[in-house]
């Protein structure tokens, strides 16, 4: 056919046109390197498949897919905590969907430079905590080490377990206008973000599934397997227990601690989960103390032991340093590894690299001057306009460098005089660095690509075969157009990093490869603290449910003025007040006012909002052990209870509110029973619920039922115990005393009956670790067995309701017994207080 274009070149032309239109508004910043576009305004060839794919999908489809990625992030519960936010809020991790692409050759060179740097930093650590040759030889001034709060004197002379200080290392990199990568800072204390990198990869692969394969993007999973293997190898006792030591749920990257520990199969522990005995570290679990030989540390070293490090720390483990000294535990990274992060060291690394490795570092650091030396001070004062000032040891300098760096060029004359004086008197505290300009990468904004500056973080793990580099990383992309590195301290979004391979990449999945990981059906004994929280979560949720049932029943009776409601309304109100759910100061006010108070007031200990908040807070500390859906249900419920109830039609609204809340609680129960494995955590949650439900059932029955109880009141009891349907399917007659009591108290197949709760409690105790077949049963088991027998032997026609008080007391005793047996907690800590005079 004359004039016809070949299909392939036609596609190519369309593709080029589509890409051109995608890039139409893309303007790299002047004088700055752009990752995607070359100096002539042409896209770099290795970006073409990605750009073509975005162009082909079209704006709407791309946006749809990016939204799906965001939903994935939201659903997996990825968050980070914002400290300066009012109330320490959580934010979903903001993802910038377009990944950074890095070519194979460039990556190889970068990785080699990072390995070299990691080797050097490890050698520096060994030297500083050992012979300090670098200081004696003059390569590093003593004050540039001694001024560092991360130089931990109690660890000097202590060999780390296995001989390695750093097990994980990360570097923040920027690419200068000349196209070279520079190390902006080193992360050696406890590098964070690898978990976010993993999560970003999952989310972006979900949005662009074919591309990662088509573009030969190297997978991340292998890196984590190697990291896991080398940490597990540090375990000398062979029990295979590695703890991930976290500062706790208030830490900004707690999500990542939970995520990584789950991904790697480590136990997530806080300081008070651990105890030191005879120079070894143990986890307090529901099955007693269990040895932990390896701690992957995400807690800053200074806080790790109040005995020998920061004595004010409430997060640490008293005696940990002594255990480290005795070789009883491996801490990764070793306590004190943070010392080489300090900017003060940066200026000395080049000569140190030559001294310890015998070769030049291939990856440069930002030019840095430590102002403790006269020559450096002169240079800095001469070139102040081109430099940025930062604290030498990451510790803010009051009155001078309190919030982030100072840009020399931005100083007014008064500030300049102040800076000059500070450099002259206490130059040891100050470092000046070259003002680095970062390169830019594309971000997706309102259907178009735009250039934004970014910092790349890359992770390395020490393995038996040397340092391994994670083939990818974590970009922090600025929201602004300011390409100066110093403005990138916080905020922004994160982007995935795709390291491209020359050939097809082996399709390992992110899930552990079976031939390298043993099949496991349990995750080790449950830490006591987690068990305690599960138990109380169960109790709070159930107590909230009982209160809400009461409120729904009450508001139903109030609006419909149902038959026989009168007497029971009074009783129910008294019950509400006795539970602390309704305020006693409103006792003589209208019942509707009391119901509204119990539904909305936050300061009532037994009110629905207070109980749900307590449940949510308890859940937040064991969030890593709950399914994201279960967690979100509680969070949504908490939000629901914070909504105001419009005054108009408040009574109907109250019913509606209680009803909605009950449905949300039912969803939570569904997630708990369907999504949680039947390990110890679930058992404690269920124990808490059963005990609480047992107590509530006793109370409902003995308060409502009298000798001459009316059918209407019995109906209320059935409603409170969610047993109306069962009753009506069994009996055609109106409610009468004995059948109702049988159903609510004694019927072992009614999941709402007292007998059912007691049976479940006994079953749980039978399985929990305190139970040994060859020993007499512990007190709580005997208590439960007696209750089971009592329920079995009782008869509805003869049941004495006063007896229910005793059952209630037994259930509370059971609760205390369980706490005493399994929740072996650390007591509050005090320090001695002698003042020298």
């Amino acid at each position: 056919m004359p004039g016809a274009t070949e299909p392939q070149s036609l596609t190519r032309r369309f593709e080029a046109e589509a890409v051109a239109s995608l890039l139409a508004g893309y303007r790299p910043l002047p004088g700055v390197h752009d990752e995607m576009m070359d100096a002539d305004g042409q896209p770099r060839p290795y970006w073409m498949p990605l750009l073509a794919s975005l162009a082909e999908l079209g704006r709407e489809e791309v946006e749809r897919r990016f939204r799906a990625a965001d939903r994935h992030i939201y659903r997996s519960g990825v968050f980070y905590r914002v400290y300066d936010d009012k109330g320490g809020g959580e934010r979903p991790w903001p993802l910038s969907h377009v990944p950074l692409l890095i070519e194979p050759d460039e990556w190889t060179a970068l990785a080699a430079g990072l390995v070299q740097r990691a080797q050097m930093l490890e050698a520096v650590l060994a030297d500083l905590y050992g012979t300090a040759n670098l200081v004696r030889s003059g390569a590093l001034p003593a004050a540039a080490v001694a001024g560092n709060p991360e130089f931990l004197r109690p660890l000097v002379g202590v060999d780390p377990h296995g001989g390695t200080f750093m097990h994980l290392y990360a570097a923040d990199l920027g690419r200068g206008p000349d196209g070279r990568w520079w190390v902006l800072s080193d992360r050696t204390q406890s590098p964070s973000g690898a978990g976010y990198a993993l999560e970003n990869r999952l989310a972006v692969s979900r949005a662009l599934p074919d591309l990662t394969r088509a573009m030969n993007v190297v997978r991340l999973a292998g890196f984590f397997q190697e990291m896991r293997a080398s940490l597990t190898r540090l375990d000398r006792s062979g029990e295979g227990r590695v703890g991930l030591l976290t500062p706790g749920p208030l830490n900004e990257t707690y999500f990542e601690h939970a995520y990584i520990s789950r991904y790697l199969g480590f136990v997530l522990v806080q300081g008070d989960d651990l105890t030191v005995r005879d120079n070894a570290v143990y986890v307090r679990t529901v099955a007693g103390l269990k040895r932990a030989d390896v701690l992957l540390r995400r807690l800053d070293a200074n806080f790790a032991d109040p005995l020998e490090l920061n004595s004010r720390s409430q997060l640490g483990i008293p005696g940990l340093v002594q255990a480290v000294r005795a070789g009883g535990v491996a801490v990764a990274n070793a306590l004190g590894s943070g010392v080489v992060e300090a900017p003060a060291l940066m200026g000395f690394l080049r000569p140190i690299g030559r001294a310890v490795l015998g070769e030049n570092l291939t990856l440069p650091s930002v030019a840095t001057w430590w102002c403790g030396q006269a020559a450096a001070r002169r240079t800095v004062l001469d070139q102040l306009d081109d430099l940025v000032l930062t604290p030498a040891f990451q510790r803010p300098l009051p009155g001078l460098l309190e919030n982030g760096p100072l840009i020399g060029a931005d100083l007014d004359p008064a500030q300049r005089r102040q800076v000059e004086r500070a450099i002259q008197t206490r130059g040891v505290d100050i470092v000046a660095q070259e003002a680095v300009r970062l390169s830019t990468m594309p971000v997706w904004r309102q259907g178009r690509l735009e250039a934004r500056p970014f910092i790349l973080r890359v992770y390395l793990a020490a393995t038996e075969e040397g340092w391994k580099v994670m083939p990818g990383g974590f970009c922090r992309v600025s929201d602004s157009l300011d390409a100066r590195a110093v403005t990138m301290q916080s905020g922004g979004r994160s982007a995935d990093v795709w390291v491209l391979d020359k050939g097809p990449v082996e399709q390992t999945t992110l899930l552990p490869v079976t031939d390298r990981v043993d099949v496991r059906r349990h995750t080790g004994p449950l830490p006591s603290r987690a068990a305690d929280n599960f138990f109380w979560l169960g109790r709070y949720v159930e107590r909230a449910e009982a209160t809400l049932r009461l409120l729904r029943t009450l508001s139903g009776r109030l609006t419909a003025s149902a038959e026989g409601g009168g007497a029971s309304v009074d009783t129910l109100l008294k019950l509400l007040i006795a539970w602390g759910a309704a305020p006693s100061d409103l006792a003589r006010k209208l019942p509707a006012r009391q119901v509204l108070a119990a539904l909305t007031r936050r300061n009532l200990p037994g009110g629905a909002p207070g109980l749900i908040e307590a449940a949510r807070q308890t859940a937040s500390v064991i969030r890593d052990r709950l399914s994201p859906d279960a967690w979100r249900t509680l969070a949504d419920l908490d939000a629901l209870m914070r909504e105001a109830i419009p005054p108009a039609g408040a009574e109907a609204e109250a019913y509606e509110r209680a009803d909605r809340a009950l449905r949300a609680l039912a969803a939570f129960s569904g997630f708990a029973s369907e999504n949680m494995n039947r390990l110890a955590g679930w058992r404690f949650l269920d124990l808490g619920r059963r005990i609480e439900r047992g107590i509530a059932t006793c109370r409902f029955a003995r308060t409502l039922v009298t000798q001459d109880v009316s059918a209407g009141t019995l109906d209320v009891l059935l409603e409170l115990c969610d047993s109306q349907i069962t009753y009506r399917s069994r009996y055609v007659m109106v409610e009468s005393r004995a059948p109702v009591l049988d159903l609510v108290l004694l019927d072992p197949v009614n999941p709402r009956s007292l007998a059912f709760q007691v049976d479940r409690i006994a079953e749980h105790l039978d399985v929990l670790p305190a139970h040994h077949n060859d020993q007499p049963p512990p007190h709580e088991e005997r208590l439960a067995a007696r209750l089971v027998a009592e329920m079995k032997g009782a008869e509805a026609t003869e049941i004495e309701l006063e007896r229910l008080r005793v059952v209630e007391a037994r259930l509370m005793e059971l609760s205390n017994d369980i706490a005493g047996r399994y929740f072996i907690h650390r007591l509050p800590v005090e320090t001695p207080w002698e003042q020298l005079a």
């Binding site: 000097v156 130059g427 320090t831 005079a837």
Partner: protein, 299 residues
């Protein structure tokens, strides 16, 4: 001078403490100008773990763990220590303070005796612009180091009031400075913060004072408890010198050193953590008697 030292410390708690871990720094060690002839520490209740080590600064440290529930924790130290006056040093003949600052900043020594460890803010002695400003009046350009430090010590002694009610063990130096009151611990911290603010190394020293003054002299403030003072670095040639701001004294033979560190947190005689709550009472009794005197009394 040879001293017989006896110290008894007793903590009492309102509720039994089931477990306690302590770090005890109550044993003097040999140092330049000080020889420990004998020492002994007794602790009750009997600890289950007892480890003795030297810390980074060369102090004797005993790690103990007690697992007997107790409402009373007692420590008793007995020691015989010989103290010798340091070689004479004329303050006006020390190097000027700017030179000392430069020497410290460029030191190539990272061991425990190095001035570099006492050059920076530390946990109980954070930097304070107000204290530095006040201290700078003692250091006009070119003044010899020790002369400036002695002047600072005398000013502190003159301007501040000894008041055991005004502060407690965790009062920040800047707070004590603001009210111009405190005890030896506060005065030592304030002087340290002032010197460090100017880039000059200053260490914190805990120890004892002789209980009864030599005939014709005044009894020293702080003699009934564990005392604290300051050690200033006068350059590589002269090293460290003790200055006691509470008594405005250059340390000679009335002081016995227990421990040296960056501030109180490094040398607290009894550190550590106890599990449980119920802080109640503390008594400290110190007796530092020249051996000849005790013998004389006995004979």
């Amino acid at each position: 001078m040879i001293y017989d030292i006896r110290q008894a410390t007793a903590y009492t708690y309102a509720h039994p403490v089931p477990v306690a871990r302590h770090i005890v720094r109550m044993v003097p060690v040999d140092r330049p100008g000080q020889i420990v002839m004998a020492s002994h520490v007794a602790v009750e209740p009997e600890p289950v773990e007892w480890t003795e080590t030297g810390d980074f600064f060369g102090n004797r440290v005993i790690h103990i763990k007690i697992e007997t529930p107790h409402t009373r924790f007692t420590l008793r130290t007995d020691a015989r220590v010989e103290v010798e006056a340091p070689p004479p040093l004329v303050p006006e003949e020390t190097p000027d303070w700017e030179a000392v600052r430069e020497q410290a900043a460029t030191s190539q020594d990272l061991t425990g005796g190095s001035p570099v460890h006492h050059l920076f803010p530390s946990p109980a002695a954070p930097a304070s612009a107000a204290i530095t400003e006040w201290a700078s009046a003692s250091f006009p350009a070119g003044r010899p180091m020790l002369a400036g430090a002695v002047d600072l010590m005398r000013r502190l002694h003159a301007d501040f009031t000894y008041d055991s009610k005004a502060t407690d063990v965790s009062t920040p130096p800047a707070d004590a400075f603001a009210i111009r009151r405190g005890v030896c611990q506060d005065f030592a911290h304030i002087m340290i913060v002032g010197l460090r603010g100017l880039g000059l190394p200053a260490a914190y020293v805990s120890g004892f004072l002789r209980t009864e003054p030599p005939p014709g002299k005044e009894r020293l403030q702080g003699a009934d408890a564990t005392h604290a003072w300051v050690s200033v670095w006068c350059g590589a040639a002269h090293g460290w010198r003790g200055l006691d701001p509470t008594n405005a004294l250059i340390v000679a033979t009335d002081h016995v050193v227990l421990a040296v560190g960056r501030d109180y947190s490094d040398v607290a005689p009894v550190g550590g953590v106890l599990f449980g709550s119920g802080r109640q009472g503390l008594s400290v009794a110190v007796d530092v008697v020249p051996m000849t005197e005790r013998k004389g009394k006995a004979g």
